[in-house]
Amino acid sequence: MTKYAMCIDPNKCIGCNACRIACQMQWSLSPAVYFNRLEEHVEGEYPKLSRVIVPVQCQHCDQPPCEKVCPTKATYKREDGVVLIDSDKCIKCKYCMAACPYNARVLNEDGLPQKCSFCADYVAKGGIPACVSTCMCKVRIFGDIDDPGSEISEYLASHQTVRIQGTSMYYVPPVKMDSSVLPPACVTPIHVNVLKDVAQPVSKGILGLAAAAVVGGVVLNNAKGGDKNHE
């Protein structure tokens, strides 16, 4: 089995945005559309300031909330862990955008809610994602964590890292700051669960009961026979 993951070391990031631009080049995105972003955190008081830049993108969740809400299964998770969008199936309802805990989706010019795909097409051919290969500080490591000999497996085995719970992402804890600056664990937003597990089943049930009542009404009224206007 293959299980793709990425490890990010925010301590090495200098905020040059080359990862974002390389990704935009790779996928021919317009300047306003990007799949990865840098979140800058500053603490302390001048002149004693500390800064950490945390790269954030689609975390390729184990149970993606965006997949749960997608009405057409356009969003799906592959066995290798990569979460992808089938643009032919997408109806642009944007449910996935509201469901994403990481705000990782971005609308392109055609209204398609796109996001990082872990460069799935290149990875399948043995390549590595553009954001990884372009980074001059080697902030990012990408690979198969089911392969013990892979670069990422060896890195995770020999360094202190934290896994973002429920995702395919690992981060090296920031040295100058608390780990709370890292992306949170994948928690399905409450509105996703309310929609899929409460509102829709209950309202379907109500509709079903109404339909049953109407069928019952038709049958019983006919059984009692005819046009009895006056009772």
Binding site: G217, N229, H230
Partner: protein, 233 residues
């Protein structure tokens, strides 16, 4: 009862009332069907992504019609009737309550004595109120999603309320349509909504207080049958 006697008819709904109802009814059904494709995955899968995109366009178009056209008709072309309708459905008599209590039995065709009803019976009043409140909720949440400049969280909750209210109101409309089109006792009423007239005989048995009011000629008074039936009831 012979058909000949039915030719003795009285006017139940004016043309603007019928048009307002008709636009509301047709667009509601279209919106319910197109919207259900996103709720029932089997239905969505059946029509495929192309079908869903088409449904989405139809849904948005009829959402605009549903929002504005009935209100324009009812307010600008039928304000007197609309005012009267709003008064009637918000003023309840003992007779209306008795009617609602007996409603489940009459729905399934059991014989029940119900007290004299005004122009709208208790069930119709509930339906009207649910339509007014429910559609307001559906329209507001629908526009929040369509405009789309609210936060993702607000849009997500709008979606929940929208689909819940729509399917809930869809259930009400199913029962409403059954009573109007198929129920042996009440299906005469659809004639009032299409042609505008119902048989006096049927009206007398279902809306006696209203018939009394029409025939005594004081329909213009805004002291409606409901108020009187409180005393009678």
């Amino acid at each position: 009862m012979s058909k000949e006697k039915n030719s003795d008819t009285i006017v139940r709904f004016s043309l603007p009332s019928r048009l307002g109802h008709g636009v509301h009814a047709v667009s509601f059904v279209i919106l319910l069907l197109t919207g259900c494709a996103l709720v029932f995955r089997g239905f969505g899968a059946l029509i495929g992504p192309g079908g869903l995109r088409l449904f989405s366009n139809i849904h948005h178009l009829f959402g605009i019609i549903f929002t504005f056209v009935p209100v324009i008709i009812l307010v600008f072309f039928s304000w007197k009737n609309t005012k009267r309708w709003l008064y009637d459905v918000t003023h309840w008599s003992k007779n209306d309550v008795e009617f609602v209590k007996a409603f489940p039995k009459t729905f399934f065709g059991f014989k029940v004595e119900t007290p004299k009803q005004g122009r709208f019976n208790g069930g119709e009043k509930i339906n009207s109120l649910l339509q007014i409140v429910g559609c307001t909720v559906i329209i507001i949440t629908g526009w929040i999603m369509l405009v789309g400049n609210a936060s993702a969280e607000v849009i997500a909750w709008a979606r929940i309320i929208h689909s819940f209210a729509a399917l809930g109101l869809g259930s009400v409309i199913m029962a409403h349509a059954f009573l109007a089109l198929l129920h042996p006792g009440s299906k005469e009423s659809i004639k009032g909504m299409i042609g505008g007239r119902v048989s006096r005989d049927w009206a007398w048995h279902h809306h006696a207080l209203w018939v009394e009011e029409v025939e005594s000629g004081d329909t213009d008074k805004t002291a409606p049958s409901a108020a009187r039936s409180v005393i009678e009831g």
